[in-house]
Subunit: 339 residues, 2 copies
Amino acid sequence: MTLVACIGGGQLGRMLGLAGLPLGLRFRFLDPSSDACAREVGELVVGGYDDPAALDDLARGADVVTYEFENVPVEAAVRVGALPPAAALEHGQDRLREKELFRSLGIPTARFGTLDETGLPAVAKTRRLGYDGKGQRRLDRVGPIADDELAEELVRFERELSIVGVRSREGETRFWPVAENIHREGILRVTRAPARDAPQDDAEAICASLLDELGYVGVLAVELFEVGDGLLANELAPRVHNTGHWTIDGSATSQFENHLRAILGLPLGSTETRERCVMINLIGAAPGLDELLALPHARVHLYGKEPRAGRKVGHVTLLDPDEETVVRAVALADAADLA
Amino acid sequence: MTLVACIGGGQLGRMLGLAGLPLGLRFRFLDPSSDACAREVGELVVGGYDDPAALDDLARGADVVTYEFENVPVEAAVRVGALPPAAALEHGQDRLREKELFRSLGIPTARFGTLDETGLPAVAKTRRLGYDGKGQRRLDRVGPIADDELAEELVRFERELSIVGVRSREGETRFWPVAENIHREGILRVTRAPARDAPQDDAEAICASLLDELGYVGVLAVELFEVGDGLLANELAPRVHNTGHWTIDGSATSQFENHLRAILGLPLGSTETRERCVMINLIGAAPGLDELLALPHARVHLYGKEPRAGRKVGHVTLLDPDEETVVRAVALADAADLA
């Protein structure tokens, strides 16, 4: 049996497991919480991500080690020889290095650096460990920027888009259709894919140049701003990504399965997409299962997590829905939200 | 959390678990083998199906109890209040009662009973505990029929078909398209669904009358022979069925998910099917994962079982394949078969 080890045992690990079990793969997860929701699809090692003994327990006998969040300590990833390679992690963890990487590859970004470089209004973002909009503050006038912060131009974008791609060990790449994303309070709420009239080729070119530059293996997501005259790269995430969850139900091969195929040296699967998908995150708490399952053509994904404000506890993907169903589903999600 | 308990921890239990985990359900299985392949998707109680203590361990705290094979002792199913109801199990376990049920509902069958009633050639089948063609022998001349055997007319059928249906607690029914099945040495090898030019309405009528008569809740499969002038019912299976595995990838809702929805009193899901599917069983041993995944539009399902002659270790579903791909996939499966 092939054993896949994963640093992190949250919902992304759980969905990796659900994608891999039908391939006959087995899973082991490392997580500080004995309650980690991936424990239902594999063995769970409870321990810190920086605990060498726990990392060794995780990696023992594994055919490959991967991770499900971008704030894995780089030394931990290196210790267990994780894929995607640590270079991606280093860039994904530091907004300044990330932006410099974009610049070095000729990928357009918002202006960044000091307030002199960005102009006003700007956003001060912590360089490290920010996620879901945390660690960000808007600057409308000149003020101090901490050493661990980076100023970015406040971009007036038309849409937030993202592209998810995968690269095999041999360097073959595949991409899913560009998705359009709606955030609220810094948390992704809705993804529509394929995004209407999206600049697929431009987005693929950005993702491809990052995949190749990083000698990447696995799934990489790039968040993009669509502005009047093109795309700006905002962030990369060296992992399976919330804006790619729709691929479980909407694509011939999901991001989770193709991530596993890539890191295990197996042939990549088709990313063909036939239906228009709308993915709605369930935040805080999930609506009743009976209500969710009564939505037409809804595919329900609950993560087995206890309710908590701001927590992603599940998602629903609507296949080729009419707008009335989308509105109903969003209202259901909002009514259950603890916020 | 909703807990589903299942008598039996084989591949059908495993696929029930894989369908239910995304709905936030948890699973517990009872199986005599500590190696039962469903253990990867839930808790495993190791014990005999006729062991009251083990059955009580299985059922403790469960929201519903179901089963994944038709030879569950009826007393066991009654003890834990399993769904589908025990009446279905009683008929599914005894070929004579099964045939008499068909007759009482006006569902055509092959002639059965004594050799006087069937004529020659005939097939003598054990009344109980037969599966995958075991316990059957052909009779070309008059000879003794044991007390635990039933004689059936040897039917010269055009095709073997099957229909899988589901009935909710409220009596709502849904059906998947009729499938065409190819057996070899009594074991299902290939299912094509939807079957071309199949008598869908007639098959649904047969399945519906059984579902209603039995006050059924859950998924029921009926194996059918297509003969010149119609359908003959051959067997019923009061459970998810190998000839419905294609629904995981080919239908809006799989047989596994709809079985769970039905027994839990949740709304049934759409059985809409858009693509032509070919499901190929992997018997004995599985081909290499790299070879399987290289088949175009193949969805691979391995059960995590050790190889053994005659054992179902996985299946592959090809979505809308050309015949060349079907031939390649069958050849791959045959080359790996230990027989």
